[in-house]
Symmetry: C2
Subunit: 317 residues, 2 copies
Amino acid sequence: MEKHAFGPGREFDLIRHFLRQAPAHDSIIVGPGDDAAVLRGGVVISTDAAVEGIHFRREWLEPAEIGYRAAACALSDLAALAAEPWALLVSLVLPASDYGKFAVELMAGVQRAASLVHAGLAGGDTAATSGPLVIDIVVVGQTDRPVLRSGARPGDHVFVTGELGGAAAAVAAWTRGERPGQEARRRYALPEPRIAQAHWLARHVELHALIDLSDGIASDAAHLAAASGCALIIRADQLPVGPEATLQLALSGGDDYELCFTADVQEVGAVALEFFEHFGSPLTDVGEVTSGHGLQIVDAGGKRLHARGWDHFGAKP
Amino acid sequence: MEKHAFGPGREFDLIRHFLRQAPAHDSIIVGPGDDAAVLRGGVVISTDAAVEGIHFRREWLEPAEIGYRAAACALSDLAALAAEPWALLVSLVLPASDYGKFAVELMAGVQRAASLVHAGLAGGDTAATSGPLVIDIVVVGQTDRPVLRSGARPGDHVFVTGELGGAAAAVAAWTRGERPGQEARRRYALPEPRIAQAHWLARHVELHALIDLSDGIASDAAHLAAASGCALIIRADQLPVGPEATLQLALSGGDDYELCFTADVQEVGAVALEFFEHFGSPLTDVGEVTSGHGLQIVDAGGKRLHARGWDHFGAKP
């Protein structure tokens, strides 16, 4: 597996630099570069920081939603390897004014997300800060058959679960000073980690590569292509555009935490209806894997849209 | 094991509240309340946040020392259960001005701490912030025989490794606007997680209870007493006072990350010289375990010093 399997981006440049000299250990089966690490015994672990003013704004969410969302986003990394959740650990870096009721409600939200996917709470840390609230969530799970980013092969089709861009539509509305619609707001505030969907798919289909859409498919599919050493073609007109969303938001809006995977088109076709009946949300064929490298986003006529053109939609709150 | 095994303190009140409703999972063998959680397969995991302005000040340390110290403090939680280190994950919450050289040097420090105890780097996260630098370090290790806080029994003696208060002496000097001495500064900037010492002790002695001194023995020994359902008596005049330190700093200064354990006095006595020859630092008998509850700190005449009196020394930078 390619160790430095990230697509373009300034954050990823920094991570690439760190990882060049990352010390190895024989307990590390899959190290940095996937959605989570895989350790001896199939233990899957990931850490995910949510920072006030960067990943969320306090005025957008209830305290319990802040906690729920941070935990759900972290748990999505277990879905992205089709791992079974075990436990969370929570590092809570709190402004002094958040001690008390706010912190208690926030942790109730964390616990709700954990309970939703039958994970326990194993520990954590609390610290004071003079700055913004930071919630760093560690998720631990297990799988004997992790589905990595690196398994896509030419001939695969690319699929996504659910609908894309709804959460980004809520952020866009808030950013314009408007109130988002109820459904878009729910997509942002209460994303559901697609643990059950990932397990169901792993049982019914040979999943070649899997990633969760945390940064938007225009960014995450590029990671998948880089990790797999293939090219991915995403057909913009086929993307399932979510409530109140636009195509641009569906391409760049990662906050829905849906899954993106590659597999044989016939295998997925044979179970897509059953998936819809089971989960009430669609599986959509959004593109193909070919030899080559990088991500191409094409329009209905097959004309290539410049991937860099999507960068400015990727701006976070 | 008592689940809410913390001594007094405002931070611990908040944690106690969170844990009252913490969801369980059958993968969690030892949950919140010890230095680290123990999961299925003897996997040991802990998370430790270092916040600029709270746990360290930027002007006190080189960037590499900030990273080293954050990682070493987190790794100390593996020593506190006598676990073998596997890997670290690093969540780096960075002010924009720290992108680039500062972040690279900081991560080099993290990697130095990992390499010192033969741990790998398994992953992490980076995020921007408008506030202070936050480094949250996740440590993962393994042991089939975790030594918990809860095993102290009446008749045990209480021991500490090394010397106490040196790191706190450095903080005290900086706080007074002075430069600390070289050795005190080193104790603060470059603490060594006592992994090898913990393993050596676990092989040579039946360790009943173990904790690392992260908050100062006046606070950490109270956790040990609460977790074990016993009373601990610490003899202030027997504490090994570190370079440039005072008795008060040795009682309240946790930043040395030495170990505190309880065991049979004869067993420890039989190996203390060998420990000193092997590690070049002492094992010191600092008190006893009795029936009852809580921590008593007594002077040379056996007169009780009011434990609450030590609170004001516990103030962090």
